[in-house]
């Protein structure tokens, strides 16, 4: 028989402290932050799981030898040293092309798990959650994963901010208050009812703190969502813009992920992460495979998002395209550094991540905290939780 004794409960309380225990079981009090600046900042991270070939973000690295299918005619020079792949990135909206930078991440890791963790965390804390907490605001969901593919790395709550998974837009719109169902429960009573459910859950959340962590965080964010003013959204508008069927509310493809990212950012979310798999492209010597995936799967939704969100008035939406690492030569295997793409209003065209012709970054190129510090800077975050921005030349 499972028996939780008075001693073990007290030991638990004493060892983690009341605040940490509250975090452990998802019972943080609601946290309010000051918002920096007049524009609402938000970050969309597109994580290409498996690898992000530098042919997209550093095309001229491969032109001389003609590797990865780069030729003199399929590059596009955006200026200030930044050259991208013309058939793919060259189709992005003009504003994006004039506000794009390649940022080097020399993490020195060439295995998938460790590289993914290094890009998204310091090993114990999530960069995305730290930035989401730093950006503040009063949204109930400050950090979201759109789609079922999980964000790499540890994701402990940061100052009451947890990662919330969005897998269906209809139910998300309903939670935000957009339901027109006449039998729906009263919103204020529902908030109290969920508070009661959270209280009734306390013993279970306490006895299985790790396995029920997301449930505990879910109660907290759901209650906060019900405390917020109702936000009405029209899924039909999103569906039309992103080329989705009117009843296709599940977030089960990249177009839907981009639509969900717009939904969440419009609702006030600070950081959204969209994971996409299938980028471990061994043997893709000409780059044809990754160009096809970029053209057919990523760009239709991403270009819609870029054209609707990045230059939207009153917002400062930044898009970062990252992956585990770049692909090495000649067989498109694992490199040990990454040339990330960043697009945003305050991004100055240029590069700190130009690969050499052996897919290596220059010595002294910063690691992942440098990228996140830069993202915080172009988002106008109120402070720099990741240290000084080492990519100052790429800021407008």
């Amino acid at each position: 028989m499972s028996r939780f004794s008075r001693r073990s409960l007290f030991q638990g309380l004493a060892s983690v402290g009341a605040g940490a225990l509250a975090a452990k079981v998802g019972l943080w009090p609601r946290t309010a932050f000051a918002q920096a600046g007049g524009e609402k900042p938000a970050l969309l991270v597109v994580f290409l799981q498996g690898g992000y070939n530098a042919l997209f973000s550093s095309a001229n690295s491969f032109a001389t030898a003609g590797t990865f299918g780069v030729t003199g005619s399929n590059q596009r020079d955006l200026g200030n040293g930044l050259v991208v792949d013309a058939p793919t990135f060259g189709t992005m909206p003009a504003f994006a092309l004039s506000h794009m930078a390649t940022v080097g991440v020399r993490h020195g890791i060439s295995n998938h798990g460790a590289a993914q963790n290094a890009v998204m965390s310091d090993g114990t804390r999530s960069y995305a959650l730290r930035l989401a907490a730093e950006l503040g605001g009063d949204a109930s969901i400050k950090c979201a994963q759109v789609g079922t593919r999980g964000v790499p790395g540890p994701k402990p709550m940061e100052s009451g901010v947890s990662l919330q998974v969005i897998t269906d837009m209809r139910s998300t719109i309903e939670a935000l208050g957009g339901s027109t169902d006449t039998t729906r429960p009263d919103r204020a009573v529902s908030e109290k009812a969920l508070q009661a459910a959270q209280l009734m859950s306390a013993s279970t959340l306490f006895t299985s703190p790790e396995r029920t962590r997301e449930l505990g965080e879910g109660y907290e964010a759901a209650i906060e969502t019900l405390q917020q003013p109702v936000k009405a959204f029209n899924f039909a508008d999103l569906a039309t813009a992103y080329g989705l069927a009117n009843n296709a509310t599940a977030v089960n493809g990249f177009r839907a992920q981009m639509a969900a990212a717009e939904l969440m950012i419009t609702a006030g979310t600070n950081v959204v992460v969209a994971m996409d798999g299938g980028w471990d492209t061994h043997g893709d010597r000409t780059g044809a495979n990754v160009r096809n995936m970029m053209t057919q799967r990523i760009l239709p939704g991403l270009n819609t998002f870029l054209s609707r969100m990045v230059n939207a008035p009153g917002r400062n939406v930044v898009v970062a395209i990252v992956g585990d690492f770049a692909r090495s030569l000649p067989g498109s295997d694992h490199a040990s550094a990454l040339s990330a793409t960043v697009i945003g209003k305050y991004v100055k065209v240029g590069t700190s991540g130009r690969m050499n012709d052996r897919v290596q970054l220059a010595a002294g190129t910063p690691t992942a905290p440098g990228l996140w510090s830069y993202l915080g800077r172009v988002l106008n975050a109120p402070s720099t939780p990741f240290g000084a921005n080492p990519h100052g030349a790429l800021v407008l």
């Binding site: 109930s140 009812a193 459910a197 089960n252």
Partner: protein, 221 residues
Amino acid sequence: MNRTHVALSLLVFAACEGGFNPNDGSVKVVDPDAIEQDTPAVTPNDVTGDAPPAPTCDTGREYLGFGGANLAFDRAPGELGEESRQPRPFTALSSEFTRVLGAAPAMLAGSESTFGTVPARWHVEPTFSAVSVFTTYRIAFQGCLTHTAQPAKFGVMPTEATARAECATWAERFWLRKALGPELDACVKVVTQDATVETSARRRWAYGCAATLASADFLTF
């Protein structure tokens, strides 16, 4: 008193009672003074030093793998009962709604993607989020409206006594254990205080039913 303090008070309440069994909700009340008085005389050696470990059953075999490596070398020690709960997958939730309410709420059918659709022949560790917690509550409320629609007892506005009795019944049916006092209090408060804006007695009852269904003992196993 904020939510955190209330919840922690609940935990401390459970902690102070001696032994709390999360499986059946039973609490063994222990009076520390009585223990002290009943303790037989001990020798000085027994008083000093660490207390002897509590008796326990065999906590698991160890196995040797290739090369004689102990496969259990990194097994984390833990309390019995700790980390024993995990979120129910959507398929299990669906059948549980049917078990406890007698019929599946209509909203269930179109809600799978909210919980993360699992590809065929794959297992994805189920998790919850703000949206899936809220959606579970919405499904529960719909099911509870049906549950409270016919019986005459739900046509009468709840009182403290009738709410307490019904909340206890719900907890035992939904969670397969008895509710603790503070858990009952939380359910009773929803029905008798929080939902008073509702003029329909059946809807007031439904809120308490839905809150009980939306709690962790129903959403995990």
